[in-house]
């Protein structure tokens, strides 16, 4: 036991003195989180709650005035749906739309029904759909009145009845109540931070990789000498893996504390369990590093490249790299769920997600179980690799 502790101390020192470990496993996630904090700061107020800027070109007729009055009404107050910009003619409105001053412009005239024009460079945006909905509601009043005139003529027997129906159609009586079903308020930015923890876990694989190649006979000259040392290879490996786990776990906890306190990312009041999740993440990190470190007939520099590519490649479907990768993650979850289930970076993000947002701890426990299973599988494959090369290299 004493010799293992001595080896553990040595391995910890070796890992912490390695510049790459300090930079990539400890500092890089903190830098990434800092960039996220600044990046999302401008959006913190919520991109969903803004008025759609729309241009209006009116011919000054009474019909056009009626429509512009409706649009103006919707652009009043704090909860305004629209922000109306008036243009003197279509040419200037088109220029404004192409310069992205407005999402679209509306032509209101007495001669034709309202028309919406959108710039070719950005069609089908949510803002345009909001303007479309407003205009369609406006058109549907007269269309519904026409339908009622056929189905129930008596309902329009008087001018007052017709006015009441028109006002009711344009009214806002129906209520929807927004449910809050999650343990803690979710945001699109939380996913990035959880994915970042997955990325950090995989970056941590470098620690195990570093320590494993210095223990294996075919990994490095130092490893060859160690294989012939007084302490058996299994105990050496055990000490190395324990040291790697301690280092990665500590780095993950530092990242966790940083994003909790600085970025104000919620873990649903379950910070203690989040630390436990870090322990599982550190284990899977060690397993990935051990597997790459044990690949036979591959130089250490090539293993470093494999580790980097694996880190980036596995983090992509975890949704780390912006909205496109989030879409890719959602697509894979829908069509290839098994690919997400065996991806450790995805499972790390999932674990924190489930911890923060679900009432039940069962999904979180399931994620931890998956991480442990992935770790076990990777360790088994690594052991098979190591077993086959153990004597050949000596």
């Amino acid at each position: 036991m004493k010799d293992v502790l001595s080896l553990l101390r040595f391995d910890l020192t070796q890992a912490l003195r390695n510049r790459g470990v300090v930079i990539w496993v400890l500092l890089f996630p903190l830098l990434l989180a800092t960039v996220f904090v600044f990046m999302f700061d401008g959006y913190a107020s919520g991109s969903a709650a803004h008025a759609a800027r729309v241009g209006v070109v009116s011919d000054g007729s009474a019909t056009a005035a009626e429509l512009t009055a409706v649009l103006d009404e919707l652009s009043d107050g704090e909860d305004a749906v629209l922000e109306v910009v008036t243009y003197p003619d279509e040419a200037s409105a088109a220029a404004g739309a192409e310069a992205e001053e407005v999402c679209a412009y509306v032509v209101a005239s007495a001669e034709a029904a309202p028309r919406m024009e959108v710039p070719a460079r950005s069609t089908g945006t949510v803002d345009q759909a909001v303007v479309q909905l407003v205009l369609e509601r406006y058109l549907q009043v007269s269309a519904t009145m026409a339908a009622v005139a056929e189905a129930d003529p008596e309902a329009l027997s008087s001018a007052e009845a017709a006015t009441n129906l028109a006002e009711a159609l344009a009214g806002d009586d129906v209520l929807t109540e927004r449910l809050s079903v999650l343990r803690t308020e979710s945001s699109e930015f939380a996913r990035f931070y959880y994915a970042m923890l997955g990325f950090s876990s995989l970056m941590g694989a470098q620690v195990a990789l570093l320590l494993v190649v210095t223990k294996r006979a075919d990994g490095s000259p130092e490893g060859a000498r160690r294989q012939l040392g007084a302490v058996g290879p299994v105990r050496q490996l055990a000490a190395a893996l324990l040291a790697a786990w301690v280092v990665v776990f500590a780095c993950l906890v530092v990242a966790l504390v940083y994003i909790r306190l600085v970025a104000d990312v919620s873990f649903g009041g379950r910070e203690g369990l989040a630390v436990a999740a870090c322990a599982a993440c550190a284990l899977v990190s060690c397993a990935v590093g051990t597997l790459i470190g044990s690949i036979p007939r591959l130089s250490t520099s090539a293993k470093d490249v494999v580790c980097t590519i694996a880190t980036m490649g596995l983090s992509l479907p975890a949704g780390l790299f912006g909205t496109p990768s989030l879409r890719l993650a959602d697509w894979l979850s829908l069509h290839l769920p098994w690919a997400q289930a065996i991806n450790p970076a995805v499972q790390v993000g999932e674990a924190f997600y489930r911890l923060a947002f679900y009432d039940s701890l069962a999904p979180f426990a399931q994620s931890l179980g998956t991480l442990l299973a992935i770790s076990a599988a990777l360790f088994v494959v690594a052991a098979l690799f190591m077993r086959r090369q153990r004597y050949a290299a000596l």
Partner: protein
């Protein structure tokens, strides 16, 4: 020029680094570009993903459920608390409509007899405004039903049919046109996004390629000791190495340019080649900055992890400040003030001007060249600092 060729070959033979910092980052830029899509000549309204939990089963709730499904992409969702949490947490649906039990009767009672208006329940996605849009659509339709029930003698079934007829009628259809663009040669959005993301490779990738690739020609390496004994003056040797660094920058710039054209070939078909070339000028200047930064790192003796860290972290911070990840217009005043002191901000700004241009004009060319010159000044300043530091270290 023997040393220039040698250094260039040595760097460009680091295939792993080329794969990582040119091909992989180029693919990353392509992924980002593919997300924004291309310009369109037809308008198609956004369709949020929608899930419906109907606990009522009335004619009103069925009509609402049908409408919600028609207005978006329907996602199946079981009526359990866990499924609702799952949908909200994973953003499986932009909008989940929950129609409470008895809603149809309560709506009719509110419309006919002035009873209290019942409320629909919903879970709106945090990800974007699509969920709110879906909510507005559903409310608009429910309002239509409510108005018909309140102000006419129609039964619920008749009101639903009347609403359907009105929505399908020609008069209710909005004509949506796409503005006929006069600037047919303008750059497409996906190409702009690709170029914006190529700044990471042009700055950080170039720097890392040089710092790591020229390691074998470092001050402490035996090859350098032999080169010092060769009949070549210090100035000539230094010039050739600096030119080799510049050559690497040019190679990365050319590679990213070719990848961009290949990946965005479809959308670039109608673009003005002169605008494409003009947009490459600030990127070329940035590649020179990357080369100068790599030369500085090499001169400082940065190797391995340190060079990778300096390249990647520098690139990440500068691309963020420059506006690659977040639009410049969305940045706060303080961040913008700092960002203007960095080269990538000017590159993105110049490319934005080319993208917004109707066509090639003298004013645009002058503006882009001026901004590229500012970027080139960064390259000169960093290269001078690198040379000074390298000479100081050589004397020490």
């Amino acid at each position: 020029m023997q040393l220039f060729r040698l250094a260039g070959h040595v760097v460009l033979r680091h295939r792993g680094l080329l794969a990582l910092y040119v091909v992989m980052l180029g693919a990353f830029g392509w992924l980002m570009a593919s997300y924004v899509g291309t310009d369109s000549s037809a308008y198609e309204a956004v369709r949020p993903t929608v899930a419906v939990v109907d606990r009522d089963g009335s004619a009103v709730s069925e009509a609402l459920a049908d409408y919600a499904a028609e207005a978006g992409e329907l996602v199946a969702l079981p009526d359990t608390a866990y499924a609702l949490q799952d949908a909200a947490a994973k953003d499986l649906a932009n909008y989940v409509l929950v129609i409470p039990e008895g809603y149809g009767e309560a709506l009719e009672a509110a419309a006919r007899g002035g009873a209290e208006m019942p409320a629909l329940e919903c879970v709106v996605s945090y990800s974007d405004a699509s969920g709110s849009l879906a909510d507005q659509r559903v409310r608009a339709y429910a309002q239509q039903l409510y108005a018909l029930l309140a102000e006419t003698g129609l039964s619920v079934e008749q009101a639903v049919a009347c609403a359907e007829e009105a929505r399908a009628s020609e008069g209710a259809q909005l004509e949506v046109g796409v503005i006929a663009s006069g600037d047919s040669g303008a750059l497409p959005t996906d190409y702009l996004v690709f170029m914006q993301f190529s700044t990471y490779a042009l700055f950080g990738g170039t720097a890392i390629l040089i710092a790591c690739g020229l390691r074998s020609l470092g001050r402490d390496q035996p090859v350098t000791a032999r080169l010092l004994a060769a009949p070549v003056s210090d100035a000539t040797r230094g010039t050739q190495l600096a030119l080799a660094c510049l050559g690497v920058g040019l190679a990365v710039w050319a590679a990213m340019g070719v990848l961009g054209v290949l990946w965005c070939a479809g959308s670039l078909a109608s673009s003005d080649v002169r605008l494409m070339l003009l947009a490459q000028v600030p990127l070329l200047a940035l590649a020179c900055v990357g080369a100068a930064y790599g030369y500085l790192l090499w001169g400082l003796g940065a190797t391995g992890d340190l060079a990778h860290a300096a390249g990647n972290m520098g690139s990440m911070v500068l691309t963020f400040l420059g506006g690659t990840w977040v639009q410049q217009a969305s940045m706060g005043a303080a961040v913008t003030a700092v960002a203007r002191l960095t080269p990538i901000w000017w590159v993105i700004h110049a490319m934005g001007a080319v993208y917004a241009a109707d066509g090639l004009t003298g004013e645009l060319v002058a503006s882009v060249l001026a901004q590229s010159a500012i970027v080139a000044l960064f390259a000169v300043a960093i290269a001078v600092a690198g040379t000074a530091l390298a000479r100081a270290r050589a004397r020490s």
